[in-house]
Symmetry: C2
Subunit: 400 residues, 2 copies
């Protein structure tokens, strides 16, 4: 393949360590023989508008600063490229002699890289296309886990430790709503700071299981009657057997005037709104007379909190960015994955798989990570997830 | 005064470092000649029920663990003692030979300590009563600032740094609702991580100023039109010129079916609900066509997040607990305060003032900390608050 320029973009929802992948990429790219190293502002959008920045002139201090700043330093975008977009992209790459395409993001980004690779191939333009994984949702196929998840999981586990102490101080029922439309990985992470059975969360509701409001009411009441308090973790995407979000069906059935924003199709907006938590509070308050019931929706803090990053996650995020450059010397395309090693100390190797193995689909929590009798996780999940957080020190509860 | 036992309790909303004050108290109390050192479970409630634990047998590791666990280790309570309660308390103290009363909390707790001191005096029972300050709201009189505020401020400042990076990545309008019914100290702390004018938050709404929804709409639109995004900090307690909460008057005027919980008097619950944020999102969405508008309500995380504590705050919290014991050797009663020293490096001395100077009333942000032209804070506030957080490292924004 002729020598050419490299371009990188970031896509989808931010994470606390996505910029570590960018930094890992830049450091390795500087060692390669790219004619230029371009960053595209706001991902595909910047590529289509030829809105590029030069990434080869950053000093060490800038690279350090970018690496510890959450969210996409180059700007992000939520955009599925049309066939026309891909044609236009390839023609821009050709004009600019861009021969190396790197895209940091989730499964949609893997699909974009796949479409770029296919588009270039069918135009007879020689180029390489690589996907660098990130998502707090941890729902990417093939990789052991997704960079970004470990830090979000650490934040959530710490938040629940604090909230458990809070609900012990002033007893009541506390419902926390976590990000996750389709997979419960982040909600499950709420359990990672528990030291004893009595610690919260006591109940964990994930999208992998059907959500039934009557069971929910019964289960919360049981814990409350037994402990005098109850701490609950709920994924925003909990749904019925038809896959319809609880908040949506509840609003339809009851005509409840939710304060949550609806889009032009009348669909409930799940993130950036406290509507699900508030609705569950109202339902539980009616069901358990006199209880102090509160909800928090953790919201965007989960994906952008810079002061509680997992060191393991940060290191791996940097390594997948770096590996994309290394792999592109040997291969034409691929998605970087993490492979957990069977060793005494936790360690992941990096490798790549074909792009279409990662594109589009999502990885739910497997059955063995979910308790089959109660809304809770198993010890297998604990052993899987704990190392990714960098470790959660237990808190001390002695008196109450 | 005859030698006797000491009792300590914790009251009101938890903070991340309230247990540091408990630990500081215990360590110093072990050096004093108290006959016993008792902890009361759930504050006054535990004292009235004689539900005490022995605090003299904790080992170093337990004290360390308690100190790093947020929220009230002994349990907290929200209880204003009646005259009868005080009579009963004093009779219990007399029966148990408790001669030293310490109460960790906000202005209500200072009042409780005052009532205990007065009650004992009028019964002719010799005893000492001290208040140890804590509140994330930072609204206590006399003290330079309240232990608990620095850590909450640090969490809020870091959260806004991340959220600013997030709203740069995927542009839009983001409204964050912060704790604070009467004072805007915590909301103002959202600005402490800013490095440039362009960093968010761009607008800061505190209860010290009248909240006008039309001005709010106009100000948000101005920033959005100029930067293409807008990050807003709003205190939960924003209100009209009659002191009526915005959320309450808006619900009354529009009949808006807020998902937020109402109490038996029809009053809106401000904390533990996303209703204010969601309402402001709806209003702004209608006003600015096509904008991506989101809200987060930071909720209880602000007061109980254990993984981002201010070292300065933690050290001071321990010191005020310790000083209560020291001061009680010389004086009969008092509230511990922090006095900022005029030195090159930030430092606070500890001292005490009379209990009734701290009881009941709250300290709002002074005029010189609030910009008189726009909804924002001044540099004087920045200089006052920054040292309390232990320092906030600026983030790096280069490309977007």
């Amino acid at each position: 393949m002729p020598a050419g320029k490299a371009v990188i973009g970031q896509s989808g929802g931010p994470t606390a360590v996505i910029n570590k992948s960018l930094v890992g990429f830049i450091k390795e790219a500087l060692k390669a023989d790219f004619k230029e190293i371009l960053g595209a502002k706001h991902g595909l959008q910047g590529m289509l508008n030829e809105d590029f920045v030069d990434l080869s002139k950053l000093n060490e201090s800038q690279l350090y600063g970018i690496g510890r700043t959450p969210a996409a330093a180059l700007g992000s975008v939520r955009k599925k490229p049309s066939e026309k977009d891909i044609e236009k992209l390839v023609s821009i790459f050709e004009k600019e002699n861009i021969r190396n395409f790197y895209y940091i993001g989730g499964n949609d980004s893997a699909e974009t890289a796949y479409l770029v690779a296919e588009g270039a191939r069918s135009s007879g333009y020689e180029m390489k296309a690589f996907h660098i994984p990130k998502t707090i949702d941890n729902d990417l196929l093939e990789t052991d886990h997704s960079p970004g998840y470990g830090s979000a999981a650490r934040f959530v586990a710490h938040a629940f430790q604090g909230d458990d102490a809070d609900t012990r101080s002033l007893k009541g029922i506390k419902i926390n709503v976590l990000m996750g439309r389709h997979a419960g990985w982040l909600t499950a992470a709420s359990t990672l700071g528990k030291a004893t059975e009595e610690d919260g969360p006591h109940l964990v509701y994930v999208p992998e299981k059907i959500f039934d409001i009557e069971s929910f009411k019964k289960e919360v009441k049981e814990v409350y009657d037994s402990l005098g308090r109850c701490l609950v973790a709920v994924s925003e995407g909990v749904h019925n057997e038809n896959g319809e979000y609880f908040l949506q069906t509840y609003a339809n059935e009851t005509g409840s005037g939710l304060a949550g924003k609806k889009d032009s199709h009348g669909n409930i907006q799940l993130s950036g709104s406290g509507a699900l938590g508030d609705t569950l509070v109202n339902i539980i308050s009616e069901n358990i007379e006199g209880a102090r019931v509160r909800a928090d929706t953790f919201g965007y803090l989960q994906r952008s909190f810079l002061a509680d990053v997992s060191e393991v996650d940060a290191e791996e995020a940097e390594r997948v960015g770096q590996h994309a450059v290394i792999a592109s010397k040997e291969k034409d395309s691929g998605s970087v994955i993490l492979k957990r090693q069977l060793s005494e100390e936790y360690y992941c190797e990096v490798d790549t798989v074909e792009l279409n193995k990662v594109a589009k689909n999502t990885k739910n929590m497997p059955k063995e990570f979910l308790d089959d009798k109660k809304p809770y996780v198993t010890n297998d999940f604990f052993e899987y997830a704990m190392p990714l957080t960098g470790g959660i020190e237990p808190k001390t509860q002695i008196f109450v």
